[in-house]
Amino acid sequence: MSAELTPMRWPDRWKNASALTLLNDSPINCLVADPAIPESVVAEAKQKGLTIVDPAANPPGVFITKGQWPGVQALQDKVGAGPTGNPWVDSNGWSVRLESVRHPGDRVWVDARPKGLVSADSYALALADAAAYGGRWIISLDDRFAANVMVGKRDAVASWKKITTAAKFFEDRKAWAAYAPEAVVGIISDFAGDNEYMGGELLNLVARTNQQYRILLKNKLSPSSFARLKGVIYADATAPAPAVKNSIMAFVREGGLLITHPKWGLAPGLRAGTQDNERYWWRTSGKGRIAFAKSEFDDPWVIAQESALLISHRYDLLRFWNGGSVGSYFTMAPDRKRALVHILFYAGFGPEESGVRVAGNYRSAKLWTLDGKSSSIDMIPQKDAVELHLPAVAQYAAAELELQ
C-alpha cells in the first residue's frame, strides 16, 4: 500500500471539507490525520478515496522518521556555519537512507514541519530532499501559507501548484526508488545505542562532502556488501564481533581501505613502511591498507573530511563546481544500464554555471526538473568520466545518464 501513498498533513487552517478540492489533480492521496481534523473533512476524504492515517502509528508498509526542515541553516536562522565557514546544511537524506536499510520493504516518510514561516520555494526542497533518497515527505504547510492557499491568493496557489507538481514528478518515477546507491565508501555500524550519534552524523556529514556512501549494517555484512567500494569506515564505540572483523578484513586483503580507531581493538595488519599522516598509523594487510587513528574518533565532521583524503579524491564518483550548498545522490538502475544523479541545491536555487563530473562512461544524458520536463544537457567526455554543464535550476534536478 505504502508505495502508492503521497501523504499530507491536513492544515489546521483548512477547516472546511471543501478544501479537499485543492487536492484535485494532485497525487496527494493520503491524509495524516491530527486529532483536530474536522469529522466532515475525514468523511469527505474517505468518500473521495483518500487514505486517512494515524500519525501516532506507522501505517502498514511505512516507517515515519522525524526530520528537520531542510536547507541552508544560515538562511533560516541567520546563524550557523560549518567548520570551514561554509553554510551549514540540514538534510533528511541520510535518515531516509538509513531507515530504508533498517526497514527494507517499507517506504520511509519524513515528518518535518516548517519552523515558523518558510519560503514557498523551500517546500519543493523539503519534498525533493526526501523523495530523491526514496522517501516521502509528509507535506506540511505553515499556517500562513495554508491560509493563503485556502483563500486563493495567487502567489500561494501558484506555489501550492509547484508542490503538487513536484510530488507528481516523483510519483511518476517510482522506479527510481529501486535504483541502488553507487558508492566509494561504506559506513559500517549498527547505528544504535552508543553508536547512534556517531553513525548517523557520519552519514550526514559524509554526504555533505558529496562522497557517495553505502550504509552497511554490521550484523548483515556479506561479500557483496563491499562490491565496488574503495574504503570503509568503522567508527563504532565497541570492537567488531569476530565475524564482522573477518568480513571487513577480507575486503581489506582484496585491496580495500579500512578507516578505524582504537575501539576496533588490536590494530590489524602490519605497520606500513611509510607513515605520512599525523592522525593515523598506516598498516597493511594483503593488497589493502588500514588507516588506524592514533586516538579515538570523537568528531564525525573531522572523520568525514579525512575519509575523503584517506581514500583519495581520485576515486570521486561526483565532483561539483560552482555548486554552492549542493547535495547529491548517485544511483544505478538494477540492470546497470542507466545512472541517475540526484542534485539538490539547499540554498533553494542552483547557480548560473555549475557543473558536475560523473565517473563512468556514458553515451547520453538528460536533465529532469521538478516540473516534469527533461532537457538535453551538455556532456563533455573526459577520461573515464563525463562532465555535465548544468543550467540554473531551482532546488532539484536529476541527471539521467545512459551507460555505454
Binding site: 565557514g85 575523503a308 583524503l309 583519495s312 561539483f320 563546481w321 560552482n322 554555471e353 573526459q382 554543464h389
Partner: protein, 403 residues
C-alpha cells in the same frame, strides 16, 4: 644576469639600499635607478600541448642564458598559484585555463629543470584553508597531479599553508627592513631550497591591480600564523580562513612570529597588500620568474570577481628578476609598468612593482630591461582596453557618468 644570485648575494646588494632606508632616508627615484635589471624572454604560445609548450619554454630558458647554472645539483622550490577553492571556476572552464597556474606549464618547467640537472624539485602552494596534500587539492579541481609528478624524477608537492613536514617554521628576515613586517615565519620549504622560482598566472587583481611573479608569493604566508584564525601566541595547528589580516591589519600574526613594524600605518588593503608582497619577495628572493598567460582571465584574480571573463593572451614571460619580469608582463597586458597609484591597473592601489623597485629588487623600466624573443608589440593582449571599458560600464551603471 644581475639578479641570478644567491640569497646571500642578494642580501649583500640589498644592504646598500636597506642601510639607507633603515637610516631613515626616504625611498627616492635615485634608489630606483640602482635597482638591478636583467633579461626577460617573451614567447607566444597558443596551447598547453607539450609539443608546443616544451620547445617554447626551452627556447625561452636558452634566451635567458640557460637554467643549468642556476639549478644543477640544487634543490629547486617552485611556488605556483592555486588561488581560491578547487570547486570554484569561471563558467564551465577548467580552473587552469582561467586563474590557476596551468599544470602543463609547471610540468614543462619541472622537466626542463630536471634536464638541466636539478637534484630535487619541490612544488609549493598554500591552498585555501586546508592541510590536505596538494595532490588532493588538484584532483578536486579536476587536475591530474601525476602529469606534474611524472615530468621528472624527484618531484614532490608540499602544502605550505601550515607547518607541514617540518618541526618548526623557518624565519626569513628582510634585509631592507621591510615595509610592513621585518620578516616572516614560513613553511620550511621556502628556506630549505637553493633556488626559488615563481610560476604565476598573468592576471589583474582587484586589490593589487596586477598579479604575476611577485604577487604569487602572497600565498607563501601560512594562515596558521597570518590568517584570520591564526593562533594568538603560537601558530594554529591547522589552517582555517584566509589572509584577511594581511589585507586589513585587524589583528597581528601569532606572537611567535615577527610583528608589524608600525601598527599605526594605514589599514587599507590597497596600501598593505602591495607592500606585504614586496616584503615577502624581499624575505624570500626569487631566482626565476615565469608568468603564464596562454589562457587566463580579465577582470581579476579569480572567478569570485564580478565581471571576470576568460581570455587567451597566448603568451609566456620568463626572467631572472621578478620586477623586470612583471614589468614586461604588464607591458604585454598594455599597462604601463612605470605607472603608479592612479594609473591603470593601479587606479586604487599602490604599485607593487614601484614598491619593489624602490627597495632595489629590480627595475620596472622597460628601457633598462633587455628583451629576448618575441617583441612586446607583437604579443600584446590588451587587458588595459578591456579594463577601461569594464570600468566605464560599471561607472555608467552606478553613477551615470564617467570614471
Amino acid at each position: 644576469m644581475p639578479s641570478n644570485c644567491t640569497r646571500r648575494e642578494w642580501l649583500q646588494s640589498a644592504s646598500v639600499l636597506g642601510g639607507a632606508c633603515l637610516a631613515g632616508a626616504a625611498f627616492t627615484p635615485a634608489f630606483a635607478a640602482l635597482a638591478p635589471a636583467s633579461p626577460v624572454s617573451v614567447a607566444k604560445c597558443l596551447t598547453y600541448d607539450p609539443k608546443e609548450l616544451l620547445p617554447v619554454m626551452a627556447r625561452m630558458f636558452d634566451q635567458l642564458g640557460g637554467v643549468g647554472k642556476l639549478v644543477k645539483g640544487k634543490t629547486v622550490a617552485i611556488k605556483f598559484n592555486l588561488t581560491g577553492s578547487p570547486q570554484a571556476r569561471l563558467g564551465n572552464l577548467p580552473l587552469s585555463e582561467t586563474h590557476f597556474t596551468h599544470p602543463a606549464v609547471i610540468a614543462a618547467a619541472v622537466n626542463l629543470m630536471a634536464k638541466a640537472g636539478a637534484a630535487r624539485i619541490r612544488l609549493l602552494e598554500s591552498p585555501w584553508a586546508t592541510t590536505e596534500p596538494i595532490e588532493e587539492f588538484l584532483l578536486q579541481a579536476n587536475l591530474e597531479p601525476r602529469d606534474i609528478l611524472g615530468a621528472a624524477p624527484n618531484v614532490e608537492f608540499e602544502n605550505t599553508n601550515y607547518l607541514g613536514k617540518a618541526k618548526r617554521y623557518s624565519r626569513l628576515t628582510i634585509p631592507t627592513g621591510g615595509y610592513i613586517y621585518p620578516g616572516f615565519d614560513l613553511n620550511h620549504s621556502y628556506a630549505e631550497c637553493d633556488v626559488f622560482i615563481s610560476i604565476a598566472k598573468m592576471k589583474e587583481h582587484v586589490t593589487a591591480g596586477y598579479t604575476g611573479a611577485m604577487k604569487n608569493c602572497f600565498g607563501m604566508a601560512p594562515v596558521t600564523i597570518y590568517g584570520s584564525d591564526a593562533g594568538v601566541d603560537e601558530p594554529a595547528l591547522t589552517p582555517r580562513g584566509g589572509r584577511d589580516p594581511f589585507h586589513y591589519g585587524r589583528r597581528q600574526p601569532s606572537k611567535s612570529a615577527p610583528q608589524e613594524k608600525n601598527r599605526n600605518s594605514p589599514r587599507a588593503e590597497t596600501y598593505r597588500v602591495p607592500r606585504i608582497v614586496v616584503d615577502l619577495v624581499s624575505a624570500r628572493p626569487i631566482h626565476l620568474s615565469i608568468v603564464e598567460g596562454i589562457k587566463s582571465m580579465t577582470g581579476g584574480e579569480g572567478p569570485w570577481v564580478s565581471g571576470g571573463a576568460p581570455c587567451k593572451p597566448g603568451v609566456i614571460v620568463a626572467g631572472w628578476n621578478p620586477v623586470c619580469t612583471d614589468a614586461v608582463a604588464m607591458a604585454l597586458m598594455n599597462f604601463d609598468p612605470m605607472g603608479g597609484r592612479g594609473s591603470p591597473p593601479f587606479e586604487d592601489c599602490d604599485s607593487t612593482l614601484k614598491l619593489a623597485e624602490d627597495v632595489g629588487i629590480g627595475t620596472r623600466d622597460l628601457k633598462r630591461i633587455e628583451l629576448a624573443g618575441t617583441p612586446i608589440h607583437d604579443a600584446v593582449f590588451d587587458y588595459a582596453k578591456i579594463r577601461a571599458a569594464r570600468r566605464a560600464s560599471l561607472w555608467q551603471r552606478i553613477f551615470g557618468g564617467k570614471d
